[in-house]
């Protein structure tokens, strides 16, 4: 992976928003780090824990518990295929298979060039337009198999 270098200045800027030594703001700060870097880098987590006087194991525990946090860098485009009941019945698995073969990654993983991350989610709450695929938060409903390649190129 190439994008693992963390700019300490950026991390500092996030930390300055939280009072030092206050462990209760751990999750907020982790969310900010996730938003800034697209994932929670080990170095940033270490800086954060030092700032908040929280053991690093606690931050790791929180970061691995919540799905909102990722410990690995995410791609520029995050593709989320809904595999909830409605989407599943309307062929979500075909879409997942198709994406896996186009991108050559397994669900939950990121392509080597760090352009795409493929994820499956359980329900996005838009069952009426099943099957649903979201590209960086933009929802596409009634997705037909065979159109994925075009969709993700467009979403770039």
């Amino acid at each position: 992976m190439t994008k693992t270098c963390v700019d300490p200045k950026k991390a500092r800027k996030i930390l300055d928003r939280y009072p030092s030594g206050d462990g209760t703001s751990l999750i907020h700060a982790l969310q900010d780090i996730q938003a800034e870097f697209g994932y929670v880098p080990c170095e940033a987590a270490e800086l954060l824990c030092e700032h908040l006087s929280v053991p690093i194991s606690k931050a790791f525990s929180a970061a691995t518990f919540y799905k909102a946090f990722s410990l690995e860098p995410k791609g520029d485009v995050v593709i989320r295929v809904c595999t909830g009941t409605a989407c599943h019945i309307r062929g979500a698995q075909t879409l997942v298979d198709e994406l896996c073969s186009i991108l050559n990654v397994a669900p939950g993983k990121t392509t080597k060039d760090l352009k795409f991350t493929l994820e499956t989610v359980n329900c996005v709450g838009a069952c009426a337009m099943a099957p649903v695929v979201s590209l960086n938060g933009e929802y596409h409903g009634n997705v037909q198999p065979g159109t994925m390649s075009k969709k993700i190129r467009g979403g770039k």
Partner: protein
């Protein structure tokens, strides 16, 4: 803070009226009244967790099935613990837990038949039974399953398929059989304050371990083994005793490695020490230990280099001989010896009995006063300082009950852990901690005020604080300037300490090691006059206080009275001002090379690293019974757990007091008629006024009979050299031998190796961690390995100074620094220009090898 008086309340459990102290949980109340409620995640030292849900109960007027472990018991509560519904639900809950736990050790239809067949002796294949789990038969989960009455599991079993983790020293981890009760995690976070372990991931992937996939060593594990002890399954297991199975017995003894004197439970199997667990002794350690006590004992006594046979030099050979032959020869050499021809050096790790017999042997049987001990070096600052300190109120419990604590120069991760745990316990009860330490430490991470002076100035800061306590506005300007501590911070610390009543002062050994100790002594004198103050002066050596009290130092007689007549001292021999004809080393190796003596006798558990003329094998802490005096003055029992008859394998070791008795008998001295260690202790109590006649765990305050000198030194370190070289006393030694050379795990941790520098300083010197540096103090120049340690302040070099050199042959090149009594001292540091050489230990030159 004195323990609050708790009210006694009454409640009803299973239609029976029971009483309990206010504030406890329903589970604890039931436990106190011998009512069994199954539970897998609760523990007396840990916060309620409610993880296993086995402890559900029915409480009148409470909805549903509350958990006994997280419900606070209240006056008049009516609790049912064993109804049909609860039994049914518990079975269901336990089955769910077991659906992720391999269960052949719990439920097996062949169990009875299998057990019967296991005892058949014949030369054909027979059932040997399953041995999947090191915890078999000692398992809490097994017990709960049996009592819950589960005979089958209705759910499909899910095996996690993790690899067993063997990488770190001391204990293995098999997370396939973990039930995620979280005891280890809470122990690590709440009691030890280390927070290495945490839950990671969730759902079926949930697991326990350090953050970011680091190893335990990298994550800063202190290997106290508290997690291993609380694990209800076989997930965490000691490497050394993993497959030993159920012990034959357990006996309570005292840890022989440091002056705190923790109570331990020795597990023995087939007559050998197999494992050590902490004892729930409320006086000292209350279920906690450090890496030495928890893991190092079996290896320290069972190491393959252990010397177990009497040996004599015969021409160019070093031969195994009988005890009679060796006693004859040694007694012959000692007969009629004069004071300036002889020196006996005794280790401060011996039992009281060994120490007393040693000094009595020299003074009565030989009639001279040439006895010395490295205990003197473990108690720097002059014997008078320690006579004073030992006469103060020293108490481990006092730390726990204090509301203000000052900790000086103590890092309790690997050294004196139990003191650190007690400080945490006090903090939990609302105490305030002020840390004075030039070095970063684990205590500094949870202290209220961390005062960080330049190394060597800790005493001055303490003195300023002590003078400031209780006064409204004291000026700290001059002290702040002198010690490099922020003036405001000093004032804050003083105001924090002024609010408290019971003060505890914990002082690590590094502080006493400083040469300039004037202010420290002043501060201690002031503190000694203060009421409600407890002290905890920490030193190395298990029985150093015993050596001090029993007069194993030439100028002291038993009972801290002044001795008459001058004898040779150890420093005379080291400095070369005296060369005794015969040197007798009892469990002590204060040289790297054989001193220039005609005849050298060594009595110990391992051979010294140089050639000797006679070797007398002494019994180790596991083999000899006796007593040890801890820092508080308690005379605590050391149990001889291995009592095997003499044989080539078990060896021919004898307790130290017995060896001296036999030598004395040979020299026609009638005062040694000891039949057992108990008889020696009785003799001690006759000679030393306040010494008990049998092991007595009552703390004693010393009443010295003589006025002893205090070595006061003022001033600081002169010179213009950029670095400050600070010596920390090395603690991982026992009976003159470095423990890291005998215990594999300690060797891996390498806690006392090399020079420690701040990574920034190393960067400036263009030296990588692990490379060699040259340290020059005046005309003295030594070379050694450098290690990056961000806990060291910038501009300092830390190193560990041992007092005994057994097992440290690879560090012999640092000897000039070890002999340097000054600390801290200005030094020049540079990148070593010598050619790259292997940093590995040089081949060990032992007496055994030279034979």
């Amino acid at each position: 803070m004195s323990p609050k008086k708790t009210r006694t309340c009454v409640m009803e459990i299973d239609h029976r009226e029971v009483s309990f102290p206010e504030g406890v949980t329903v589970l604890r109340a039931a436990e106190l009244n011998d009512v069994y409620i199954p539970s897998l995640c609760s523990h007396k030292d840990l916060s309620p967790f409610g993880g296993c849900r086995m402890c559900i109960v029915e409480i009148e007027s409470m909805r549903g099935y509350p958990l006994a472990c997280s419900t606070v018991a209240a006056e008049g509560m009516k609790v049912l613990t064993d109804t049909a519904t609860l039994r049914e639900m518990r079975k269901e809950i336990l089955q769910l837990i077991l659906s992720e736990h391999p269960s052949s050790c719990l439920i097996c239809s062949e169990e009875t038949e299998c057990r019967e067949n296991q005892h058949t002796i014949r030369k054909v294949g027979v059932t040997t039974g399953c041995r999947y789990c090191p915890n078999d038969i000692q398992c809490e989960l097994q017990e709960v399953v049996e009592r819950t009455g589960i005979t089958d599991i209705d759910y499909p079993i899910y095996y996690r398929g993790y690899e067993v983790e063997h990488d770190d020293p001391f204990y293995d981890r098999d997370y396939n059989i973990c039930i995620l009760c979280g005891r280890c995690v809470r122990m690590c976070q709440e009691v030890r304050g280390t927070s290495v372990l945490a839950f990671k991931f969730r759902g079926p992937e949930a697991q326990i371990g350090p953050a970011f996939g680091k190893s335990h060593v990298e994550a800063g594990c202190e290997f106290c083994g508290a997690c291993v002890s609380v694990c209800p399954t076989g997930t965490l297991a000691d490497k050394a005793s993993k497959w030993d199975g159920e012990p034959d017995g357990i006996r309570v003894s005292t840890c022989p490695f440091c002056g705190i004197g923790c109570q331990v439970e020795l597990h023995h199997k087939d007559g050998r020490l197999s494992k050590v667990e902490a004892n729930l002794d409320p006086e000292i350690n209350d279920g906690q230990l450090c890496v030495r006590g928890r893991f190092c004992m079996p290896e320290a006594t069972h190491h393959h280099q252990r010397a177990k046979k009497p040996m004599l030099r015969r021409g160019e050979y070093f031969r195994e001989v009988t005890w009679d032959e060796s006693i004859d020869e040694v007694a012959g050499k000692l007969k009629g010896i004069k004071a300036d021809e002889f020196l006996m050096v005794v280790s401060g790790d011996l039992t009281n009995e060994g120490l007393f017999a040693a000094q009595k042997f020299v003074r009565s049987a030989l009639g001279i006063n040439s006895i010395d001990s490295t205990a003197r070096e473990s108690l720097p600052g002059g014997l008078g300082l320690w006579a004073k300190l030992f006469s103060l109120s020293i108490s481990m419990k006092g730390i726990r009950e204090a509301d203000c604590i000052i900790a000086l120069g103590l890092d309790s991760r690997f050294y004196f852990s139990v003191a650190g745990v007690d400080i945490r316990r006090a903090l939990k009860n609302g105490a305030n901690l002020v840390t004075i330490d030039a070095r970063d430490s684990n205590l500094a991470s949870y202290t209220k005020h961390w005062l960080r002076p330049t190394p060597g100035k800790e005493g001055a800061v303490l003195d300023a604080i002590v003078q400031g306590i209780g006064k409204s506005n004291s000026g700290f300007k001059s002290v702040a300037k002198k010690t490099d501590v922020d003036e405001g911070l000093l004032a804050q610390a003083v105001s924090t300490l002024s609010s408290g009543e019971n003060l505890a002062v914990v002082i690590g050994p590094t502080i006493f090691e400083y040469e300039a100790n004037e202010e420290l002594i002043d501060a201690l004198t002031r503190l000694a006059r203060r009421t409600n103050t407890t002290f905890m002066p920490l030193y190395n050596g298990a029985n150093t206080r015993g050596a001090f009290e029993l007069g194993v130092i030439s100028e002291l007689l038993p009972g801290v009275a002044k001795a008459k007549g001058k004898g040779v001292t150890l420093s005379d021999v080291i400095e070369g001002t005296a060369t005794p004809k015969v040197l007798y080393l009892v469990g002590e190796v204060p040289f790297f090379d054989r001193p220039d003596c005609e005849y050298v006798i060594a009595q110990g558990t391992y051979y010294p690293p140089f050639e000797v003329d006679a070797f007398l094998p002494a019994a180790s802490f596991a083999e000899a019974e006796g007593t040890l005096t801890n820092v508080e003055g308690r005379v605590q029992e050391l149990v001889g757990i291995e009592d095997l008859p003499d044989s080539a394998v078990a060896g021919f070791a004898r307790p130290d007091w017995l060896i001296f008795s036999r030598l004395a008998e040979k020299l026609k001295c009638s005062e040694f008629k000891y039949k057992s260690a108990k008889a020696v202790l009785k003799d001690i109590s006759k000679t030393v006024a306040d010494f008990p006649a049998k092991a007595d765990r009552k703390p004693r305050r010393l009443t010295p009979k003589a006025k002893l000198p205090i070595d006061r030194h003022a001033g600081g370190s002169e010179g213009a050299d950029p670095f400050l070289l600070v010596a920390e006393p090395a603690g991982f030694a026992h009976r003159g031998t470095d423990l890291a050379s005998k215990v594999e795990g300690l060797e891996e941790l390498a806690l006392e190796e090399g020079f420690r520098l701040n990574p920034d300083d190393l960067g400036k010197l263009r030296v990588d961690s692990g490379e060699r540096i040259t340290v020059s103090v005046g005309k003295l120049t030594v070379t050694g390995q450098a290690k990056a340690d961000k806990e060291c302040p910038r501009g300092t070099v830390y190193f560990h100074r041992p007092v005994a050199y057994g097992g440290l042959e690879h560090r012999a090149e640092l000897e000039p620094l070890y002999r340097l009594r000054k600390s801290p001292v200005k030094a020049e540091v540079a990148r070593s220009v010598e050619k790259k050489r292997s940093t590995k230990a040089a081949p060990k030159k032992t007496a055994a090898a030279s034979r």
